[in-house]
C-alpha cells in the first residue's frame, strides 16, 4: 500500500483517518435503495399507512439490497458440524434460525434480517412522482396580477447584523487562515450577510373543494381510499399554487363543512343526496371566493349511489359549479365492486364531459389505483386548461 508505507512515520493524519470506504459504499447502497424505492414509489406511497396528518415526511420500510451470487437451492434439511456437550439423538430448536458466523461475510443473504426505515420528504416524493409520471404542470386560469415578495438572494460583506450568515462567515475565516484547528478569530473581511431581493410573481390563488360522501354505504375502506387520493391531490396542487386553500365538505342527506382532521373521521348514516353537498359548495364559493380571482377545483368522492329523485337538482347545481371551476373531478370509490362508473353520479359526470366541461371521473377500487387516478385527473385537467 504505497500511500502509507512510503511515508515516513510522521504525525500527519493517515488517509484512513479522513476517509471511510465503508461509509462511502454504504452511502452508495443507500442511494441505490432510494433509487429503487423511487421507481416503485406510486405503489409504496399509495399504501394508506404512509400518510399521517400533518407530517412532512413518510417512512418507508425497505430491505437491504442483496448482491446476488449463484447459490444452491436451500435444502429442506442440511447438515452441519458443531461442538459441545451433545449426544447423538439430542434435539435443539433454533427459533431464530441464526446462521453461523462462518457465513456472516455474505451480508444480506438472509431474508429480511436487517431492514431499514427510510424517511422521504413529501415534497421530494411529489417532485419525483411528477417527473416519473410526467404529469403536466398546470396553467393557471386567472391572470397575472402581480405580487411582489422579498426572497433571499446572494451574500454581501455588509449588512444588518440580523442577516449575518455564521456558517458562511466561518468558512471565509477558515479560507483566509487555512487552519481549521486554531481558535476562531474573525475580522470584518470574513463576515458575510444574506441579501434580500425583490421578486415579482404572478398572484395565483386556488381553492380546492373536497367533497366526500359519508353515507351509510361508504365503508371505512372507501373513505380511506378517498382520503389517500385527496392527500396526493393536495400535494400536487400545492406545487402549482403558492397559496392553496382547502375546503372540506361531507354529506349524506345533509351537508356540513369540516376542518381537515375532522373531515376524515366523519362517518354518517343514511342515504345519499349529492345535491346537498353541491349546494353547500356553491354557497361557500359565493360567500368566500370570487371565481374571477381564484382558481377553483372540486373533487368529489362517492360510491355513486345518489338517490334517483335527486339527479335533476344535482345536475343543475353541478353545471353551475363547473361553469366557475377550473376542473371538477369525480372518483368513484367502490372497493370490492367494480362498477366502472355505471352509477347515477357516474352518468352525471359523463354527461358533463360529453358537454365539453372541464370534468373527469375515475373508478377507484384499490390503493393501487390511486396514482392512476391522480395521473388521470392531472392530465385531463391540463388538457381542459389548454383548451379555449
Amino acid at each position: 500500500m504505497s500511500e502509507t508505507s512510503n511515508e515516513p512515520a510522521s504525525t500527519a493524519a493517515k488517509w484512513y483517518d479522513l476517509f471511510s470506504r465503508g461509509a462511502r459504499d454504504w452511502l452508495r447502497h443507500d442511494e441505490k435503495v432510494r433509487e429503487s424505492v423511487r421507481k416503485h414509489l406510486p405503489q409504496i406511497v399509495s399504501g394508506a399507512d404512509v400518510i399521517n396528518e400533518g407530517a412532512r415526511t413518510v417512512r418507508v420500510p425497505v430491505r437491504m439490497l442483496e448482491h446476488y451470487h449463484f447459490r444452491l437451492r436451500r435444502p429442506e434439511e442440511q447438515q452441519g458440524a458443531g461442538q459441545g456437550k451433545a449426544k447423538p439423538g439430542d434435539v435443539f430448536s433454533d427459533p431464530s434460525k441464526q446462521r453461523g458466523p462462518g457465513e456472516k461475510g455474505q451480508g444480506g443473504q438472509d431474508d429480511g434480517e436487517v431492514s431499514l426505515l427510510l424517511e422521504f420528504k413529501i415534497d421530494d416524493i411529489v417532485d419525483w412522482l411528477w417527473e416519473e409520471m410526467q404529469l403536466p404542470n398546470l396553467k393557471a386560469r386567472v391572470g397575472p396580477s402581480e405580487d411582489s415578495d422579498w426572497i433571499r438572494e446572494g451574500y454581501d460583506r455588509r449588512g444588518a447584523r440580523s442577516r449575518l450568515d455564521r456558517r458562511r462567515s466561518f468558512k471565509e475565516m477558515v479560507k483566509r487562515r487555512g487552519n481549521p484547528g486554531a481558535t476562531p478569530t474573525f475580522i470584518d473581511e470574513d463576515l458575510r450577510f444574506r441579501q434580500l431581493a425583490r421578486r415579482r410573481q404572478p398572484a395565483i390563488h386556488a381553492v380546492v373543494f373536497f367533497m366526500l360522501d359519508v353515507s351509510g354505504s361508504m365503508s371505512d375502506r372507501d373513505r380511506k381510499l378517498a382520503k389517500t387520493f385527496f392527500f396526493w391531490v393536495v400535494q400536487g396542487l400545492r406545487r402549482e399554487y403558492r397559496s392553496l386553500e382547502t375546503v372540506f365538505v361531507a354529506h349524506t342527506t345533509e351537508a356540513w363543512e369540516f376542518n381537515e382532521p375532522e373531515f376524515f373521521q366523519v362517518s354518517g348514516t343514511g342515504g345519499t343526496v349529492s345535491s346537498t353537498g353541491l349546494n353547500k359548495v356553491r354557497e361557500i364559493i359565493d360567500a368566500r371566493y370570487n371565481p374571477g380571482r381564484c382558481n377553483i377545483y372540486l373533487f368529489y368522492a362517492s360510491d355513486g349511489d345518489n338517490s334517483v329523485s335527486d339527479s335533476g337538482e344535482a345536475r343543475e347545481c353541478l353545471t353551475s359549479i363547473t361553469g366557475d371551476a377550473c376542473f371538477t373531478g369525480y372518483v368513484e370509490v367502490s372497493s370490492g365492486l367494480s362498477r366502472q362508473l355505471a352509477t347515477e353520479t357516474g352518468r352525471l359526470f359523463a354527461e358533463l364531459q360529453t358537454a365539453g366541461c372541464a370534468a373527469g371521473s375515475y373508478a377507484l377500487n384499490d390503493f393501487d389505483d390511486v396514482w392512476g387516478a391522480v395521473r388521470h385527473f392531472f392530465s385531463a385537467e391540463a388538457k381542459a386548461l389548454d383548451g379555449p
Partner: protein, 454 residues
C-alpha cells in the same frame, strides 16, 4: 506504559520465532484505528475497489460490533514484505500475542504450497495490486460514469468465486483450431493402409477445423467472459481481470483457514511460553486472551452449532506435533490444504475428545444431532468450502448468435440452484456479455430447467 510499548518486543519475538524454525518474509507492523480494522475485515484488503455490496457488509459489521460480538485484533496480508495491521485498541499483552500470531501466519503463507502457488501467480504484492485496481476503477468511474462501472462490478463480483486456480492467472486464449489429427496417425499402420488405396490417402489433406469455444466446460467464468464476451470493452475486461486476480489471492486464504489459523494459534501460544523476556503480568494477560481466541464454545453456552477454526486447527496441530514432531508437522503444513488436513488428521479419537458432532437442521429450525460418523463429520466441516464455496457452474458453449450457455453440474452439488438468485446473476452478467445467456440446472423435482436472460 504507552501504546507503542509492544514495538520493543517485536524484534525479540521475531528472533525467537526464527530460532524455533519459523521461516518468514519480513513483516511490516502498523497499529491502526479500530474503524480501519473493521474496514479491512469487510473488504478483505486494505485498499480495494468500491462497490455498494461492501457497504452492506460494513453495516452488518457495525451492527455486530455494537452488539459486542466481534473484536478484531489483527489482520495480516501475506507477501514480501508482509503487512500486519494491529488494532490500536489492543493492550500490550494482546499485541505481544498478536505479533507472535502474525509470525505464525507469515511462516504459513511463505511455506504452504497453495499459498506459494497462488502467490507465484499473483506476485507477493497483492496489497499494492489491489490498491492499483482500486485506482484503476476510480479512473474508469471518472471516465465512463458510476452506472456503467457499477454494472460491470455487479457482474464481476457476482462471479468472484468462479475461477480455476489449476490454470495460470495469465492464461492464453484457447487454440483457434482443433488439434491436427494427422500428427497422431503417422505410424506403420497408416503407411501400409495408405498403400492399399492411394486415393483415400490423398483426401487426407484436411481443412483445418475451428475448435469449439470453449473446447471443454470452462469453470473460470471471470476469465471466459473477459476473453470471449462478444462486445466487451477493454476497460470492462480489465475490471473482470482485476476481480479475478484478487480471487486468486483470496482462494488460499479461504481454503486453508483451519490449518492457517490453527498454525498461527499454535505458534503464538508456544512462542509466548518460551518468551522469558515478556513481563509476568503481560504473559498472564496474553494467555487469557489466547484462551478466549481458541475457545470452542461461547462462555455462556454448552453447545455451539459451528466450529471455531482457531480452536479446531490449534487442537489438531498440538496433536500432530506431539505425534510427528515439528519436522513432520512442518511437512504437513507445507503440503496440505483444509481438505486433506481434515480428512487425514482429524481422527475419531480427537473428534471425540473435542466433542465434535454432526447435526442436521431443518428449515423450521429443528436441529438433531446425528450418529457419530467420522467421514460424515469431515464432509460436514468441509462442505461449505468446496469449490471456493460456490456451486459448480461452467460455460459450456457459445452459440453462433453469441448466446452463452452455462451449465450447472447438479450431480456434484447434489441439488439445483436457487432460481431467483441465479436469475439475478444472469441479469448482471448479461449486461456485459450483451447477448442472451442460458443457464441449465435442475428444479426441486430434479428435472432439467433452463433459465434465460434477457
Amino acid at each position: 506504559m504507552t501504546s507503542d510499548d509492544w514495538k520493543n518486543y517485536t524484534q525479540r519475538i521475531e528472533e525467537l520465532a526464527a530460532r524455533s524454525g519459523l521461516s518468514f518474509h519480513p513483516v511490516e507492523f502498523e497499529a491502526v484505528p479500530d474503524s480501519f480494522m473493521m474496514e479491512i475485515a469487510v473488504y478483505g484488503l486494505p485498499v480495494r475497489m468500491p462497490h455498494w455490496s461492501f457497504g452492506v457488509r460494513y453495516i452488518y459489521q457495525l451492527i455486530q460490533r455494537h452488539m459486542g460480538n466481534s473484536r478484531l485484533f489483527e489482520v495480516v496480508f501475506p507477501g514480501n514484505p508482509g503487512h500486519a495491521y494491529l488494532a490500536a485498541s489492543n493492550g500490550l499483552a494482546e499485541n505481544i500475542l498478536v505479533t507472535a500470531h502474525v509470525l505464525g501466519h507469515a511462516d504459513f503463507s511463505r511455506n504452504n504450497l497453495m499459498f506459494r502457488r497462488c502467490q507465484g501467480q499473483v506476485s507477493e504484492h497483492i496489497v499494492e495490486h489491489a490498491a492499483n485496481h482500486a485506482r484503476q476503477i476510480q479512473q474508469a468511474i471518472e471516465q465512463h460514469g458510476m452506472q456503467r462501472v457499477e454494472a460491470v462490478l455487479d457482474a464481476a463480483l457476482a462471479l468472484e468465486q468462479h475461477i480455476d486456480v489449476d490454470q495460470a492467472l495469465r492464461r492464453e486464449r484457447y487454440p483457434e483450431y482443433a488439434p491436427d489429427p494427422k500428427a497422431l496417425v503417422d505410424d506403420d499402420f497408416r503407411k501400409r493402409f495408405s498403400q492399399l488405396d492411394p486415393t483415400a490417402a490423398s483426401t487426407g489433406v484436411e481443412i483445418k477445423k475451428r475448435a469449439p469455444v470453449p473446447p471443454h466446460p470452462e469453470r473460470d467464468l471471470l476469465w471466459f467472459v473477459a476473453n470471449y464476451a462478444p462486445e466487451m470493452e477493454s476497460w470492462e475486461r480489465d475490471i473482470f481481470l482485476a476481480v479475478r486476480e484478487e480471487s486468486f489471492y483470496f482462494l488460499p486464504v479461504f481454503a486453508t483457514q483451519i490449518m492457517n489459523e490453527g498454525w498461527a494459534s499454535y505458534w503464538h501460544a508456544r512462542l509466548l511460553r518460551e518468551a522469558d523476556f515478556v513481563p509476568q503480568q503481560a504473559y498472564v494477560d496474553a494467555i487469557k486472551c489466547h484462551s478466549d481466541v481458541v475457545r470452542p464454545v461461547a462462555a455462556d453456552e454448552q453447545v455451539s452449532l459451528h466450529i471455531n477454526p482457531y480452536h479446531l486447527g490449534f487442537a489438531m496441530w498440538e496433536k500432530i506435533i506431539e505425534r510427528d514432531g515439528l519436522d513432520g508437522a512442518r511437512h504437513i503444513m507445507e503440503q496440505d490444504d483444509d481438505f486433506s488436513f481434515i480428512r487425514n488428521h482429524l481422527n475419531r479419537e480427537l473428534a471425540d475428545e473435542l466433542g465434535l458432532f454432526r447435526f442436521s437442521a431443518r428449515n423450521d429450525g429443528h436441529i438433531k444431532v446425528l450418529e457419530h460418523d467420522l467421514g460424515g463429520l469431515h464432509e460436514a466441516i468441509l462442505g461449505p468450502k468446496y469449490n471456493f464455496g460456490a456451486p459448480s457452474v461452467s460455460a459450456s458453449h457459445v452459440r453462433t448468435d453469441g448466446t452463452l450457455e452455462l451449465i450447472h453440474d447438479n450431480s456434484v452439488d447434489g441439488r439445483g440452484l436457487d432460481l431467483e438468485r441465479s436469475r439475478r446473476v444472469l441479469d448482471y452478467v448479461q449486461r456485459v456479455w450483451r447477448r442472451p445467456i442460458v443457464l441449465t440446472t435442475v428444479n426441486q423435482a430434479g428435472s432439467t430447467l433452463e433459465l434465460t436472460a434477457p
